[in-house]
């Protein structure tokens, strides 16, 4: 079974600072990878997904970007964080049609 690793678990950053969150997947090859964000009291919102190395699709316009440098590595970045970037960021991995996505334990990002 696949395991999704995310780090760090918690991050506090000042406004205007850069961001890099990393996600790695074990136990599967060529997965589809996803970044979601959960704002306080809300459901999960899809930010980016990737079907392969270097292939990124963005779902919402925002201050963030994503990259996939290796098959099982997915990175979420920002050059300058905004207060509105605060939230709980989750990486997920999926293997195809009509299969569940599996999630990492997330990163709680607080912007001060």
């Amino acid at each position: 079974s696949q395991t999704i690793h995310q780090w760090p678990a918690t991050l506090v950053q000042p406004v205007g600072s850069p961001l890099s969150l990393e996600c790695t997947v074990e136990g599967t090859s060529n997965p589809n990878l996803y970044w979601y964000r959960q704002a306080a009291g809300r459901g999960l919102q899809l930010l980016f997904y990737s079907v392969g190395i270097g292939q990124i699709s963005s779902e919402v316009p925002q201050n963030l970007s994503a990259s996939r440098p290796q098959d099982r590595q997915f990175i979420l970045s920002s050059k300058k964080l905004l207060l509105s970037d605060s939230g709980f960021y989750l990486c997920a991995s999926g293997t195809g049609f009509y299969q569940p996505q599996h999630f990492g334990d997330g990163t709680r990002l607080s912007i001060l």
């Binding site: 999704i4 589809n32 999960l44 919102q45 999926g94 293997t95 569940p100 996505q101 999630f103 334990d105």
Partner: protein
């Protein structure tokens, strides 16, 4: 727009009784539905799913029902146990990138289930 809605933010059920969590959706293109369970500071854990060609799927204590005409999904937990206390999210899937199987999950806001001893 909120394509997937969980209208009950919280639900309290006595241990041993049935828990019923509800979910409504608006997009008739959704064809795969999932329930996830989430504990604080952890990622969601997959519970059970159903495709639109079925109206019921069962896995142990968990059963999901799909009513396509009403665009309504429900999760039944029988019997409810204290460890079931968590936030439950329903999600619906729209297939993206058909050649490569990427799926976009649209989530409801979640329902906090509390099981009382």
């Amino acid at each position: 727009d909120q394509q997937v809605k969980q209208n009950s933010p919280s639900l309290s059920v006595q241990e041993g009784r049935i828990s019923i969590l509800n979910c409504d959706y608006t997009n008739s293109m959704f064809d795969y539905f999932l329930w996830y369970k989430k504990y604080p500071a952890e990622g969601p854990t997959f519970l059970i799913s159903i495709s639109s060609i079925k109206d019921k799927n069962e896995d142990g204590r968990f059963t999901v029902f799909l009513n396509k005409s009403a665009k309504h999904l429900s999760l039944h937990i029988v019997p409810s146990q204290p460890g079931d206390s968590a936030v439950y999210f329903c999600a619906a899937s729209v297939v993206h990138s058909p050649l490569q199987g990427a799926q976009k999950l649209v989530f409801g806001q979640g329902t906090r289930l509390t099981i009382n001893p």
